[in-house]
């Protein structure tokens, strides 16, 4: 029997897709896959490849031969300091934001209703709507030696406490704005919403009846928190910590504006590319956060953080 062919190219196309579903799949998946592989993975691979080259000590030209020398340079004290400094900062920012975010997220998820809830959402989101740079510059002014925070602390007679804090070795400095404490505060402020939001979502999903069951079985509220709420909220906590940790790890603007000028990883990458032309070292530095985040995710998975997903 002769097949009656329908007319028009669109109809033919439709027939083709019906007869060969594989073609449809390729057409639909192809563009995003190409995007993912070429643009996304491709640039990462290019980066990775660069980091295995090295710079010639004498001419300053890049030697396009495989070597681990550039990675060896990361272990030099001045470079290793940068990695350690950035990681410690990211860890302390993450821990502090978890402690601050938990009560806020808990209240917003469990107690706030109606207008109050909207207010909480708005309060957390609002800082995200304004320019990042404006916020950081504003913090520079707030933390300055002759800034409003110093003025207020002086006003309540607590300047001895602040001076004591600033007199501490390493984290201290001449004023908040040129010390690690200042950098830490700004990081904490800027990334806090990224901790609150996933945590709040996770806490909202904790079933109320489990808390009631815990109560019925005679658990104190501290035990309920420890053995019921925290484990169930852990995926949110981990998600939030991935945000705060990786964002702090990669940021290069805050430590440039607030702090003691000691470099963080992002700044080191910025300094080594460009006029310096040391692309291999810049690439090797850029690989460091990837490795640290990989280790972090692996550890989190081992701890069962993703089991509840």
């Amino acid at each position: 029997m002769m097949q009656v062919a329908r007319k028009g190219p669109w109809a033919a196309l439709s027939d083709l897709f019906w007869r060969r579903p594989g073609v449809l799949l390729i057409v639909l998946l192809g563009p995003p896959l190409i995007w993912l592989v070429v643009i996304y993975i491709g640039s990462l691979v290019a980066l990775l490849v660069q980091s295995f080259f090295s710079i010639d000590e004498f001419s300053g030209l890049i030697t396009h031969e495989f070597t681990l020398k550039t990675y060896g340079e990361l272990l030099r004290p001045s470079n290793f300091d940068i990695i350690l400094r950035t990681t410690l900062m990211a860890a302390s920012v993450t821990i502090a934001s978890a402690f601050i975010a938990f009560p806020i997220a808990y209240y917003a998820a469990r107690y706030a209703t109606g207008r109050m809830k909207a207010f909480f959402y708005l309060g957390v989101m609002l800082p995200l709507w304004s320019s990042y740079l404006v916020k950081v510059y504003a913090w520079k002014l707030i933390l300055a030696k002759e800034g409003i925070l110093n003025w207020a602390i002086d006003g309540i007679g607590a300047s001895a406490v602040l001076n004591g804090l600033l007199a501490l070795p390493v984290i201290g400095g001449n004023s908040l704005s040129v010390s690690y404490v200042g950098t830490f505060l700004v990081f904490l402020y800027v990334w806090l919403p990224y901790m609150i939001l996933p945590l709040q979502a996770a806490l909202e999903r904790v079933p109320r009846n489990l808390l009631e069951a815990s109560d019925d079985l005679g658990a104190q509220s501290r035990q309920t928190l420890r053995y019921v709420i925290l484990p169930l909220a852990l995926p949110g906590l981990i998600a939030g910590s991935i945000f705060t940790f990786s964002l702090t790890l990669g940021d290069y603007i805050i430590p440039q504006i607030v702090g003691s000028s000691r470099l963080f990883i992002g700044q080191a990458v910025y300094a080594h590319q460009g006029t310096a032309g040391n692309i291999p070292l810049a690439a090797a530095f850029a690989v460091v956060p990837i490795v640290i985040m990989g280790l972090y995710l692996w550890a989190a998975k081992r701890k069962g953080a993703f089991d509840a997903l």
Partner: protein, 385 residues
């Protein structure tokens, strides 16, 4: 990968010989109706920021070449934009200009087509940052020193005479130590300022140019910078942050640009500047023309305009820089005056070591520490190593 690499190499090779193939313009034709310029922010003003500062409108009216400006914030950005192409001119600083010439991105200039070339400061006509083997690759635009900015309340009647206020611990005239009250530039090129200081105070090291240092000279400069680290709370990077630090952080002395000094003074702050006995480092910018410039006639007309019009004079007022045409200070073509030029450091030309990129093959002693090491070591110094 190999194929791509070969193609890239081939393209590079073609680009490298291109300047030799491309003949210089020998005769000006009619303007093409537009000219595209890569410039530092504030360098090309058409009266939109401040109506009094306009050196574009008159050019457009006279030549019919509409000026399009793309601002770039760093020399690296400028080089990247020129590599990309699509522009006619760039106002390149000493660190970018030689890279552009070496990379074959800019073309030689026929100075016979620029009638005002003769008015250019003789000391700039053959400057090594735009003249290679006797061939000119651009017209000098503006230059300026990196001055020592200080707070007049802290220093009273005795302005600092030496850069030692930012390099060594001392008691300032107001009775307090300079510890924590001075700043330094947050870029590896600051190593040159330390070398410049040593060149004056430690002649035994035999430094002849702060941009050409052998291992021993370089190590001495780094040692000096390590002392400086103990005095500096925060290195400056952004001109506006530095101004804020002078106002709100109690900073009283730092290497700086006349730009910051002028703005702080206009705000009534107790600020002044000086070029100390050791001399200073400085920058000098050049208008260079892209090797494939689409609008060569307008480009030449602009280069002529940049030297002949009110541009040199008014820009030096606007930016706190110095004209590359000395007559612009005095002949009333713009707002600049002889006093203004003196204030911006015109008379100190010979005491300024102009910015060039340190390379390993250097003129004075054969083998020098290249710039990429300046970068990694300066990072170490700032990090306390």
């Amino acid at each position: 990968m190999t194929g791509r690499f070969l193609t890239t190499t081939a393209v590079c090779a073609v680009l490298a010989v291109q300047p030799a193939l491309a003949d210089m313009l020998t005769e000006l034709g009619a303007g093409e109706g537009q000219v595209d310029i890569v410039a530092w922010p504030g360098y090309i003003e058409r009266g939109e920021t401040d109506a009094a500062f306009d050196w574009v409108t008159s050019f457009e009216q006279a030549t019919g070449c509409m000026v399009n400006v793309k601002t770039a914030n760093t020399s690296d950005e400028m080089v990247a934009l020129m590599n990309e192409g699509g522009f006619d001119l760039v106002t390149a600083s000493g660190d970018a200009s030689l890279r552009l010439i070496a990379g074959g991105r800019v073309q030689p200039i026929n100075i016979d087509l620029i009638p005002s070339w003769a008015t250019v400061d003789d000391r700039l006509k053959g400057a090594p940052w735009h003249t290679v083997d006797g061939v000119h690759y651009g017209t000098p635009y503006q230059w300026g020193p990196n001055v020592l900015m200080y707070n007049t309340q802290a220093f009273g009647d005795t302005p600092p005479e030496s850069w030692n206020v930012v390099f060594e611990e001392m008691t300032l005239p107001d009775g307090a130590s300079n510890m924590g009250r001075v700043q330094a530039y947050d870029g590896a090129i600051h190593v040159a300022d330390a070398a410049n200081y040593l060149m004056y105070h430690n002649p035994d090291l035999g430094i002849t140019s702060p941009y050409e240092l052998n291992e021993a000279q370089y190590a001495a400069a780094l040692d000096l910078l390590r002392v400086q680290r103990t005095l500096v709370n925060r290195y400056w990077h952004d001109a506006f942050i530095q101004m804020d630090d002078f106002k709100n952080e109690g900073v009283v002395a730092s290497g700086s640009w006349p730009f910051q000094v002028n703005i702080l003074q206009s705000e009534g702050q107790p600020i002044a500047s000086v070029i100390p006995v050791e001399g200073a480092t400085g920058w000098a910018d050049t208008t260079m023309m892209h090797v494939n410039a689409a609008h060569p006639n307008c480009s030449y007309l602009w280069m002529e305009h940049s030297l002949a019009s009110n541009l040199q004079s008014d820009l030096s007022v606007w930016f706190g820089s110095n004209p590359s045409v000395p007559a612009a200070c005095t002949d009333g073509r713009g707002m600049q005056t002889a006093e203004g030029c003196t204030l911006n450091g015109l008379d100190d030309f010979d005491r300024i070591k102009f910015w060039t990129t340190p390379v390993s093959a250097c003129e004075s002693q054969g083998e020098c520490v290249p710039y990429y090491r300046w970068v990694s070591d300066y990072i170490g110094v700032i990090g306390g190593r």
